[in-house]
């Protein structure tokens, strides 16, 4: 026993038949067939027949129910009152769904009950066929050898080698064909370094587009902001792509709560008002959950937590970098404006990001 199935792969398969001596007893064969009630008692069989018929009848009722739901309940747009329309839709959906369910379950349970109680329940033994006979295998091998010989491929290596070379190259056009999946004029990673923000661009509310005065934000306020020039972008897709890079969260903290800014960032906030990119540096969800007392910004997708009072540094979760801060100030009319674009690419890390500023267009 112990050598069996382990170690020696050439071991004779004795266990196939449960042969003598392998186990405590020999395979006793199938247990005797135990007749069902319906096999011995015609009354029980009759009862099963009625049960199956009842299940089929339930199916018919289900189908009727479907039609009631479909035709007797009006469509939503035929209601004056919106709420009545919505409840009608729910009724319709329930009738259609439960009707279909009854129609199907009636048939399904009926057939299975029929099979279980009335159709023969003798278990049957069938022998497994060997996957092949040795004679067939030898035949097949002979055919393959002959076929290969007839092609003469072994005798003519030039044919073989050039064919391999051609076959390796031939799929390449199929790959190249996909190049135009991205036909944009600004193709390349450069475009990821910049957003619509620039010096003097006003911060406006999302989605209304109204500009924001510093006084509009009391301490503890948070505002969802887009650049004023976003609406100038024509084309829905382009606008969404630009918005995806330029959404900003604006919040006002008690200036005392703000930590000392790192050198170069001293004038990035305005009287406790700070702005950051809303796009998570992890995989790009909008980090929009702002807790005004703890100054935590939480991403609802993967729970990265950033501290707004410490230049949005990561305090928890999978994000690997702080959120980029947008330098802001106010213009002559008292509206909040950007001092510049973000000084680093926003959003998730990408391979080419490492060299953030190859053209030297971000301020040091």
């Amino acid at each position: 026993m112990a050598e069996h199935g382990n170690g020696d792969s050439t071991a004779v398969v004795k266990a196939g038949e449960g042969a003598s001596g392998d186990y405590a007893i020999d395979n006793p064969g199938l247990p005797p067939h135990r007749p069902r009630l319906a096999d011995v008692d015609e009354k029980a069989a009759k009862r099963s027949e009625r049960q199956v018929a009842a299940l089929f009848f339930i199916s018919i009722i289900g189908t009727v129910m479907f039609f009631v739901g479909y035709f007797a309940v009006a469509r939503m747009d035929q209601f004056e009152n919106y709420f009545e329309g919505m409840s009608a839709l729910r009724v319709q959906n329930t009738l259609i769904g439960v009707g279909t369910a009854l129609a199907m379950l009636g048939i399904g349970l009926g057939i299975v009950h029929w099979a279980k109680t009335l159709m023969p329940d003798h278990e049957v033994t069938e022998a497994r066929k060997p996957l092949r006979t040795e004679e067939d295998r030898a035949d097949a091998e002979k055919i393959v050898t002959e076929v290969v010989d007839e092609t003469q491929i072994k005798r003519r290596p030039l044919l073989r080698n050039t064919m391999i070379a051609a076959a390796l190259l031939a799929p390449l056009p199929a790959v190249v064909l996909f190049r135009d999946l991205d036909r944009t004029a600004d193709f390349g990673v450069e475009r990821m370094r910049h957003s619509l923000w620039d010096e003097g661009i006003r911060l406006v509310r999302d989605p209304t587009g109204t500009p924001i005065r510093a006084a509009d934000l009391t301490i503890g306020s948070a505002m969802h902001v887009i650049p004023e020039n976003l609406r100038e972008v024509s084309g829905h897709g382009d606008r969404l792509a630009e918005k995806a890079k330029s959404v900003v969260l604006l919040m006002r903290l008690n200036p005392d709560d703000l930590h000392e800014p790192t050198p170069g960032r001293e004038d990035w906030s305005y009287e406790g008002i700070i702005a950051c990119s809303k796009v998570c540096t992890h995989v790009g969800c909008p980090v929009a959950l702002y807790e005004r007392h703890t100054h935590h910004l939480l991403c609802p997708c993967h729970q990265s937590t950033f501290d707004a009072s410490e230049e949005f540094k990561v305090t928890f979760g999978p994000a690997g970098r702080p959120l980029p801060q947008l330098p802001i100030t106010v213009d002559d009319e008292g509206f909040l404006i950007a001092r510049s674009d973000f000084t680093e690419p926003v959003g998730p890390t990408y391979w080419e990001r490492g060299h953030t500023d190859p053209e030297g267009d971000f301020p040091a």
């Binding site: 026993m1 266990a15 405590a24 067939h33 999946l181 997708c301 729970q303 690997g320 959003g347 060299h355």
Partner: protein, 577 residues
Amino acid sequence: MSASKEKYTEAQYLEAIEYQPKTGTGKIANYVDTRVGGTSIVREFGRKVFPDHWTFMFGEVALYSFIITVISGAFLTFWFDPSMATTRYSGSYAPLQGLEMSMAYATSLELSFDVRGGLFMRQLHHWGALMFVLAMSVHMIRVFFTGAFRKPRELNWVVGATLLVLGLAAGFTGYSLPDEVLSGNGLRIIDGMLKAIPVVGTYISFFLFGGEFPGNEVIPRLYALHIFVIPALLLILIAVHLFLVVMHKHTQYPGPGRTQRNVVGYPIGPVYAAKAGGFFFIVLGVLSLLAGTFQINALWNYGPYDPSPVQAGTQPDWYIGWFDGVLRIMPGFIGNIPLEFVLPTPWGGNSVATPVLVPMIPITVLLLGVFVWPWLETWITGDKREHHLLDRPRNAPTRTAFGVAMVVWYLVMWGAASSDLMATHFALSLNDVIYWLRAAFFLGPIIAYLLTKRICLALQRKDREVALHGHEAGVIEVSADGEFHEQHKLPNEHELWTLVSYEAPAPSGPRPNAKGKITAVEKVRARLNRIWFEDRVEPVSREEYLEAIGHHGESPAGLEAAQSRQAITSGAPADSR
């Protein structure tokens, strides 16, 4: 095949042509048969035997859910327009009226509110998709724990694993189509994950989205994948999968009368066909019931996709959950040290998004592990025989324990995707939930492995106990001299066979190769082999059994069988063909 060289007599040809059917049905049957050769199909499949066990039905559920999903999906395509062109919504759903949105979202809403039965079909499609992946997963777990993937079914296991991966792809592409905020943020996460891939990632993202995220192109592209490419692949592989099942014949659980050389079960006609056919209607009925009574993906809640909004509880459908969860438990910093770093390169440096890349490791390990497992196990155990009899999970303790460990590992990643809901619904701190999940990620599988292995071995010992001394009958007897003992009921030979007919080989140790050397790889194999086999409970041997019978002084049912030593022929008692 040599069939082509067979010679047929003229009489044989004439026989086939001149046959005159007598009944009407017979005429139709003959018409079809003489054109498509139905005779051989009926002869092959009409009475083909399928073993019957409830755990064998998950594959059927998967197949039926797939069919239901294809049919309901085809219905949806008649209204759905996968376009990202904008429109102003003017349908029945009041809280979105007048908003600018893509055609994809507007037509999804139209389907839900303005097409009768559209909401039902959408929900049926979605529940069906969830059930499809669920059934495939459970089916795979069943196949794993019973060892049904072993020779000769390794390649079919790989086909099945590919089907599961394709199922995930089908699900995710569908999830993204309505173009609302929830699925849009899902795509955004995919975009972020793609961009983390070194060297090519950024460009893959560009090509998928036709420019920068989200662009104008992605929905129609996903649509093509969702309704054509992936379903076509699924269909082809399902055909291959089923063909191989028929070719191999189904496996069966060990039991009386079952051997490696036979199949015991019900013939297709009529019982199995009726049950399997009826079961299709049951699956459709259950899914219809869900679709009619439980709301799924209420996409009107989320609003048209816009990169600014997001909602609390942003989760993918369940089968993508483990991707999301493992991203959640990975820390971005250890202490104050960021895990993300810039690789210094001559052209200025490249970023390595470690917090996104590291979570891909367990996912890759699990998925790759699934694909190579049959060969890995064969390599460790050295068992290269064919197996048509399944293992009872307890009789393969190491495999079962390892499988449970992997399931637990998956569950931790999966559960992590709902970390925020665990926090709100069990009044816990979100951060604590993540800390616990991080611990469970490492400890969970280990504990599960140790525990499962002990449970398996204990169950095996229990089997031995029952085989040798019988079941505790629950009756206490007092002997004449005042001794108490419990009555034991010995199992009958059929039950006994199931308890004793398994193998528990001892570790085999390293084997030298052809040159007589033991390689380092072989040493690793031998060590794994020892781990695999060292804890074992041997099945009851004939000697032990006979001794136990003598001890009990009774004549149990199995005794005759044990002593007669008759060989079972494949056609044994319930003979049919």
